[in-house]
Structure formats: C-alpha cells, structure tokens
Symmetry: C2
Amino acid sequence: MTRRPRSAPKSYHHGDLREGLVEAALAILGRGSAAALTLRAAAREAGVSPAAPYRHFADRDALVAAVAERGFAALFDRMRASATRARVSPERGLQEIAVAYLRFAMERPAEYRVMFGPELADRARHADLQQTSTRVFALLAEGIAGLQRAGRVRAGDAHAMALTAWALVHGLAMLALDGRAADGDLAALERLGRTATELLMFGMATPAAAVHSPSNTPARRRSGARVPRQ
Amino acid sequence: MTRRPRSAPKSYHHGDLREGLVEAALAILGRGSAAALTLRAAAREAGVSPAAPYRHFADRDALVAAVAERGFAALFDRMRASATRARVSPERGLQEIAVAYLRFAMERPAEYRVMFGPELADRARHADLQQTSTRVFALLAEGIAGLQRAGRVRAGDAHAMALTAWALVHGLAMLALDGRAADGDLAALERLGRTATELLMFGMATPAAAVHSPSNTPARRRSGARVPRQ
DNA sequence: CCGCGTATGTTAACAGTGTTTACATGAGGA
DNA sequence: TCCTCATGTAAACACTGTTAACATACGCGG
C-alpha cells in the first residue's frame, strides 16, 4: 500500500506524504503555538502544494486528529515506561504515571493542547484517535485496579475512580499550561502533582466505605462533623 | 465615556457596540461551536460592518477575552450562589460549588471551551480576564480555608489544595465535554462530581498526617495493608 | 519490455477570515 | 452654529480551507 523509498530524491511523488505531514505538523507545534498549525503550513513544511494533503486527509481536522493520536501514543509510552521504572509500590507507580503525564504536557504544550482541543470535539469522527486515547485511560484504570487487588484502595466503582484520577492530572496540566499553576516551573509542577495525587490516593484508600453515602462516614465521625441532613 | 441610548434606532452609531458584540458572541456560542465565533460573524450578528469591532477590540482575541471574562463572572456567580444555598456543612458547600461548576460547563459548553481555549494562552495580555478568573479560584481557596478553620481539613498548603480541587473539577468538566465522562448525561456527571470531590475531601481530611510521606499512614495500618518499603 | 490505470501530486480558483487604511457620519461641547 | 473627534463604513490585502481540473509516474498485466 505505502511505498517508502526513504530519503527519496526530489521526485514528483513524496514517498510517504501522510507521515511527512504528521511530522511537519509536529515540527510546527514544536516551535510555535497551536494556531500556527495550518494545513497549508504543514504542506509547505513537507515541501508540497497546498492541495496535496487532501490525498491523505479528508479535513484539516483529520490531520489534527492524526497528530493528536501520535501524541496520545507518545504519552502512553512515557506513562507506561515511568510506571514500570518505579515498581517499588503500586502507589508510587501510579504517582509516577501522573508525574510523567504532567511532564509530557509541560514539554510539549502545543501538542498537548491539540490533543484536547476543540477541533476534535466530536471524537466519534476519528475512531483510531478514540482508541489510542482510551489506552492512556486504561493505563490509569489498570493502576487503580492494581491498587484495589492489593487491598490498598477500597473496592467500588473503579471506572469513576480512574476518571477522577485522570481529571485531576489533566486539570493540573491545563492549569499549568494556562500559567495558573506552577508558573512554568516543571519541578514545582511535579511537586504539586505528587501532592495532589497523594491527597486523592489517600481519599481512595481502603477504609473509605461511604463514598456514595456522604452522611455519617467514619472520617466525618472521627473529625466531629455534624451529620448532614438528607 | 460610553453613551447608552438603549434601544437605539437604526442609526449610524450603534450606541454600545462593545456590549452588543459581546452579546452577539455569546449568542453565537450558544447556538454553535466555538469555531463559529468569528469577528465578522459577531459583527454581522450585531448588524455592523466587519471593521467596526476594531474600534472596541484590538484583536479577535480581545473579543474572545471579553467573552471569557463574562463567562468567568457568570460561573463565579453561580458557584457562590450554590455555596450559600447549601450551608448545611462546609463539606457540602464545597461539593455544591463543584457541582455548580460542572453544571455550568455542561450547559454552556462552547462558552466554557472558550474560557480555557488556546486563543487566550497568554492571559497576561488580558489583565481583567486574569482578575475575574482568579475570583473563581479564590472561591475554591476560600472554601478550603473554611474547612481548615473548622478543623475538617488538615492544615497545610492551602494553595496547593485549592489548585488540586480546581484541577479535579476542571478536568472532569473537560473530560465530560470531550464525551469521555458521563456521556452527556448531566445527572451522571453530577454524581461523578460528588464522588470525585468526596474522594478528594476525604484525602484532605484532618487526620491525614502523612500526605508527604506515603508509607505507614494510619489509614493503611487500619486497613491491614502491608507497609510499603521505602 | 511495453502500455496503461490509478494513486498521488500540481495549478487555479472560490468563499471566508483577520486586519489595515482611507473615508464618512453625526453627537456633543466651544 | 460649527467643528472636532469618537465611531461607523468601504475597499483592499494576505492568508486560510477546500474543490475541480489537470499532470505525472509507479507498478501491474500483457
């Protein structure tokens, strides 16, 4: 299907333009903001006419989706690598996953923004993107499931807990990218990430029996809170 | 400074075009996606020529910033109203703030997206937006400080905890808008929000002496978990 | 080895966008 | 009354996404 002469001469045909366009887009995102990622700019960067991309992507959004998918795949790799590297304890592993996530967002901000940008609001149109991004969620869910099996996290709605964890770390990344957290300081963001994940993991720890029945939990009884009505 | 004839006739001058453009933009966002919010479209909606907005906004981004500021103000109002309405307990209040936040995001998705969109990546350019958005953070921080004063939340870095709370709820909103959580079901999202905030608040609760030293916490000892090495 | 179909590229054009420049209007103070 | 200046318009530019018509050359069947 795809011919790949690799280091092709200046021929009429590019060889693997689809790949070239994705890499061109990544290069653009790497040196500029997300607004600079334009179909024509990617075409220029790949040394090709403005209409050429339409042989490989139906839309500008399709190119963006391909870039985002590449991003999710890279993010997944880094998260997994980070998790296996820190095998001292399941908690530590999950925490390192979170830190790897934050690091990725800080190192490739424009790419990260594109991964969650509005151009892909309807991800149903890009099935492969949906699938790849689901893998990073699965990694988090797996981490939490592992904690549950180890008896470190209470049994219960693992899906909700994984979503919560993802939301926490994704929200931190967004706030950091908007300059509202850590102020561009990666080390500070990592500290914040560790603190935040520890807070959450502590809340998910085993003897939290009352997550879905907020009244009269052990924590509140211990802390002397009034039992709320309703 | 600004004349406001209010219900101005079809005159050459608009009366209060700046306000009219912001409302036009909100109308566009209300019925379409964020991509439909264009300077020219707002001008059309306001019944004015394409160049007219430049008498009131330096940029397209400046209009977007004004819209975002309006959004943050509305969000702030709803959060505060929701907090004062649910005064049964500080925990409950903070939780209702979170739910109000999520509800806002679900009801006005395009507006919410604009509030955190990449066009305002450098919020330093829009000082008033920065200020207004800081108020919603202050509301969260105040809620957590209140919990600390009441002895319900451990003393410690209140700023980090407030950021954590904001990140959690913002992340949930983003995931929901991307169709990754709750699947467009507001009630489901509210449940998820309550669960998530309870998990976090439980983690922040008073007898959490070991937030920065994850090993050998009281919760883990009580639950009979093995003490992790290191 | 040849010829040809088709995947892949180019060129030219369209509508729509942000933005600027020069000009028009009219509201309100001197 | 008039004249000034904030506020509007009109026309133009460069740029974008997208499409249609045309060009090239890769690789397969003969």
